[in-house]
Symmetry: C2
Subunit: 263 residues, 2 copies
């Protein structure tokens, strides 16, 4: 991806409503999802835009979050990048309270497996345990974290959903079952700290446990988006999946503030 | 795998000839391959032993090397662990002159791709270039190594066959194409230095380049051993694959010396 030029339009996925169209298949009033950028109005030939129907009962905001990039990333990561969720797998997320990561845990939970989430505050733990039905929430800031992690993953780790690396990744490798999957996704929050070294000192586990570590970018997996949206929507409807969105109301002047809030 | 007990029999794959058999399917004079250990004689119920025919034209020693664990590991790693070899892939090996790694390069070469091998002496380079037909041999001990590596991998890296980690792995990530495969195999030479940290400071490439890093142990891939032996044997016969074995002649007293020579 090319860097955005100075004074260029900030790249962003978004939902737009068609005001006027000369293109077949796109009509006034249609909702479209795509890389519309930080713009109030866009003139486009329609390339890369997908028509969206908000599933009945769903909030329009969900199309941007749980049914949008966050939900699609979670779904693609678990079912198209990782080996899928196998009976008895333990799924551990290193930044579990994040917008995508919390969906990963909830999706895994629909498959009846044990979910351990790591997050840095009691408020986040409350959400993970009481709203998202995680089995265990761990706080990486606590002195007892290492011991807590070992106890919580005593039966192994099948999938480790990571955007942290470092010592927690090492600990995860230590506790991993054989044939574990470690999944890294396109985490923009990491870009600004990309120089931080991760040192996998227990490197030999990569071989002895037959690790698969994969990085992925959601958009490569567009072929399963249809299936993913259908499943996500059904889980939303049944209450197995809960959406939490941060909504900032205002015009385009507010957009930089929303971007900064990600970091 | 359990550690070997003090005074226990050293675990080792080997070729044995049956002297006497009460088991159906195993007859006097049959050659069998399996975990026979450091023993001159073994009494066994036959579990895990496979009858072996030395392909006509092949040396019996090849059954232990290029048609044995080394060749099977190379074949399984490229075709069952990595994505296979795609047209235009560049294949780079970090310890290319090793028994298994040199087979990896030669197998990749049969698929018509560009092979870069890293090794630490002129003698090894001579073998890689003139006997094994690698395209480029690089010396990690040279001051110009980094620049040499960048030039040699200017068109990207599709498969990086690694048992080194560290800075060369970082460099490989830097030079990798999109969707690269990094393959780590059961490298006993690494076990004694397992505490050495690898720091992947350019961690973000895992995501942006959609890396797949996999560790594997050859024996998990036994289902393709039949196909692998057939292919390896054909490449040996055609001269596309050359076997180099270190043969130490003597009785069992010599075995510890052979083991130590691996390190």
């Amino acid at each position: 991806m090319d860097p955005i030029k100075i004074n260029g339009v900030m790249r962003a996925w978004g939902l737009a409503k068609i005001i006027v169209s000369k293109k077949k298949g796109f009509n006034e009033g249609d909702l479209v999802y795509g890389l519309v950028g930080f713009s109030e109005f866009v003139i486009t030939n329609g390339t890369g835009l997908n028509k969206i129907e908000v599933p009945s009962g769903d909030d329009i905001v969900d199309v941007l979050g749980v049914l949008g990039l966050n939900g699609l990333t979670a779904y693609a990561g678990l079912f198209d990048v990782a080996h899928g969720i196998k009976k008895g797998d333990r799924v551990v997320g290193s930044g579990a309270a994040g917008a995508t990561d919390s969906i990963v845990g909830q999706i895994a939970k629909t498959q009846g497996v044990h979910i351990v989430g790591i997050a840095g505050s009691n408020e986040k733990h409350d959400v993970l345990l009481n709203e998202f039905n995680f089995n265990v929430a761990l706080n990486y800031k606590k002195d007892t974290f290492k011991q807590d992690f070992i106890v919580a993953t005593n039966d192994g780790i099948g999938i480790y959903w990571d955007n942290v690396g470092g010592e927690i990744l090492e600990l995860a490798l230590e506790q991993a079952s054989n044939f574990p999957n470690i999944i890294n996704w396109g985490c923009i929050a990491e870009y600004n700290k990309s120089e931080a070294p991760i040192g996998i000192r227990n490197y030999f586990h990569i071989v002895t446990k037959r690790l698969t570590l994969r990085g992925f970018i959601c958009s490569d997996h567009y072929k399963i988006f249809g299936e993913a949206r259908k499943e996500l929507s059904a889980w939303l409807a049944s209450g197995q999946l809960k959406a939490k969105s941060a909504v900032l109301t205002g015009r385009m002047e507010k957009a930089p503030e929303a971007l900064a809030a990600l970091f």
